[in-house]
Symmetry: C2
Subunit: 226 residues, 2 copies
Amino acid sequence: MTEESHALEQISVANESYPRKLGNKGQRTRQQLIDATVSLLEKNGLRDVSVADVARAINSSPATFYVYFKGVPEVVLAALENASQTSPELEALINRDWLAPGATEAALAFVECYTELWNQNRNIFAVRNLAAEEGDERFYEARMQQARPMMVAISEQVKRAQEAGRIPANLSPNSCGGTILMMLERLAAIGPVSEGKDGVSYAELKAAAAYHIAMMLGGAGTGDAA
Amino acid sequence: MTEESHALEQISVANESYPRKLGNKGQRTRQQLIDATVSLLEKNGLRDVSVADVARAINSSPATFYVYFKGVPEVVLAALENASQTSPELEALINRDWLAPGATEAALAFVECYTELWNQNRNIFAVRNLAAEEGDERFYEARMQQARPMMVAISEQVKRAQEAGRIPANLSPNSCGGTILMMLERLAAIGPVSEGKDGVSYAELKAAAAYHIAMMLGGAGTGDAA
DNA sequence: TTATCGAATTGACGGTATGTCAATTTTTTG
DNA sequence: CAAAAAATTGACATACCGTCAATTCGATAA
């Protein structure tokens, strides 16, 4: 229910994500705010972290906060800029030849690596996805951006599987990549949290996801079935 | 940052989800609150719907609201009790013989039905998942509960596929069901909203998901490939 | 060293939401 | 129709939001 900003045309300091010029101290304060926010995020959900909380955490005042950020979400957005959802290891794992034997094991390694990587930035990724789900365009964009490399890599592999006649040619590679990423993100988001909660272990879930992926990448019927 | 409730042991009216006794008028007011909340939810995310908003919407006061519910989430929880995530049609679609030909088409029909059903309660399901993701146990429980029938049905089919040797026997049926449901929920949640946003159409995504499912249920290699 | 100026901080304020009473009004019922 | 129960609400204490003007801090140059 927040309304539009007023029609003030002048310089309006905090209208950008940070003041027009940042000195040494300013950068330090800004970073402190980011760190404090991420830290608070570990214990509370995004919606339970208030500007007042963050300001208090660095022994400052809300007014100071607003010099650097428009709100808590903006801080998370800033934190996201230093977080990657891919890695050389992960790239290597996905860029293998999925038509060769051992697809199931490779897929499992891929899933492990993906969820592990995700876990390293669990706090902000979780917030990112939450905010994106809530309809915040900026977070939606951020997620898309960070997911793109994997999307491209997976699509590429799907294409190869199609060319080899392993999976139907009428499927859209991007869509296949999309569904795989849906599964992976959900899997990673669940994380070790719900370990054994629904009567299924995390390891089992990862194995199932891995099988899905191996299938979709054309690795079915290469002697991996038990 | 909200704290525990105080140690007041007496009757404490709104400590339960509704007053100890509800007369005719009370039930009406309660329902009005639920309806108003769901309605407001259509336009704003959960976090943008305040107690004040809901109260205003029925020309009442926040104080009245608090007689019936502890907060907005509780209202959604109440609304969820009258929403089902399954249907006879959907049950029929999942309970077919997936080892028989036509699995891909059947899977597509299943996906269509599922997403359609989900859409009918989009507002509260979205909120439910969001809140569950945020760590709210009650919503997590609600989601689990409402997903269970499908979970069971899918697992059953996975088991049959395993017995027929169509998919590896070392996979946990429940986990396979879980991953499928992960995909389906994400797919449904995305919905027609992001139509064509990432360069993939919703129809294509559904097709890809359907193929996943057909695969996992043992319907691969039954002559459906293009 | 100190004067200067831009960077950085904050106290204080108006607005709004939360959650809880006690007091009042409305409805039901004997 | 009068008593009892249910329902409503005004008023309040508390807390967060977002903005400014006023102030303090700190780097630089004379």
